[in-house]
Chain length 224, copies 2
DNA sequence: TGGAATATTGAACAGCGGTTCAAATGTCGA
DNA sequence: TCGACATTTGAACCGCTGTTCAATATTCCA
């Protein structure tokens, strides 16, 4: 966080200033996160972000090198939250099934929460190469942690072997997709959505291990 | 498709010309679809699309009113394919479970197929208002068709009641998310991905109807 | 209080990218 | 072959948007 080159001795005053700067920096990130979720990175203008943060557009550049960096820190913050949730369940001592449920629920909240929620971590492609590799690395850490957890569930519950990579991504897809359709004004609360989603992802639609008749491997309809 | 104002009588020659124009129009849409999937709508430039379609940038405007319209037709085509798949299973006479499996598989192919696949239908927000409403309407028709099918499955198989709207969107999320991670050069073929995904979505992770201990409604870790 | 460092502003800049356009070329029926 | 119409081109246009900058205001320590 502290990016100030520590050449000068930090007097108490300086310290307070820096703190105030960091606070403002966080406000900006929150505002940017909101705008990004509303319009997407490409559509969000610096002037929009500035307005949402209630400062002038030029002033943004006093806290960040540019739009890229704002996006970068948004993503970084979100991923940190998710990694933290992953880590905290690891020490919770529950069964793998319970821990997975906790992680999935936390994921929904991290994305959708109206105050702190961000979906910026979905726009990786918008980052320049150097920043992108850092983020992708962190994202992969989260994904592989989740994958390992899913692997544990499969092992503990003696479920039929499946490719955990694809299952992980299926879950991430279902979770991340919520930003595309969830609206706070809508009928469902974040809590309800998280509940229903995890229920579905954990339990699945059918009671049998294999989803019914393995129908029609041959192509049918449209252009399969 | 035929947008030519039908004031003039169509001579056989005109007809052939129009057909040739339509063929080119389709080539452009295919090329645009590829570019959109690679870079996303915002990052895709008209000059890129033109290059991919092997024509000059200015010439694009002889076939489409602008970038918006290209996206529009891409989305329209994709949705038509999906609606067709939905309709064709309806008359296939299989059980609801089988039909759902078919639709999910077809969905993956429609998105990921290397020749015809498009993911443009995910970028609804980029459209201007008038075009957007048309597309959203069609997309909703697909979604509600899928939702109905899922409802039938729940009813036929006597599964525990859940909110079909959220389940539908969970499935759509898992399916549509594939564009974010699937790479043709990667280890898995489209067929394998479709198979694993539908297996997961149909059968679910666990054998029991309710995914294990309903762990910890209380908040834990991170900022839930 | 004075002065140095920090914050803040809004106008100006720059270039990227969608679009337009006049001109050249190709196509087809008569 | 001629004329009408479709097709194609590439340069020029222009508005939008990220960014810069010089000037002004604010903050805080001595």
């Amino acid at each position: 966080m502290s990016n100030t080159s520590s050449l000068s001795i930090e007097t108490p005053g300086r310290e307070r200033l820096r703190r105030r700067g960091d606070a403002r920096r966080l406000e900006i990130l929150r505002a940017a996160g909101r705008i990004f979720r509303q319009r997407g990175y490409a559509q969000a203008g610096m002037r929009d972000i500035a307005a949402a943060a209630e400062i002038s557009s030029g002033n943004l550049y006093h806290y960040f090198r540019g739009k890229h960096e704002i996006l970068y820190f948004c993503q970084d913050r979100t991923l940190d939250t998710m990694l933290q949730a992953l880590a905290s369940t690891r020490s919770s001592g529950g069964s793998a099934l319970e821990r997975l449920r906790q992680v999935l629920t936390a994921h929904v909240f991290t994305i959708l929460d109206d105050v702190e929620g961000t979906a910026a971590h979905l726009e990786v492609d918008a980052l320049p190469a150097d920043l992108r590799t850092t983020i992708i690395c962190k994202r992969d850490r989260y994904e592989s942690g989740l994958r390992r957890l899913i692997g544990e569930v499969i092992h503990e519950e003696r479920l039929p072997q499946r490719d955990p990579r694809i299952i992980t991504r299926a879950m991430l897809g279902a979770l991340n997709w919520t930003v595309r359709w969830y609206r706070p004004q809508g009928p469902a609360s974040v809590k309800m959505v998280a509940r229903e989603l995890t229920d579905f992802l954990m339990g699945g639609l059918t009671a049998s291990g294999d989803g019914g008749a393995a129908g029609a491997p041959g192509s049918q309809g449209g252009r399969t």
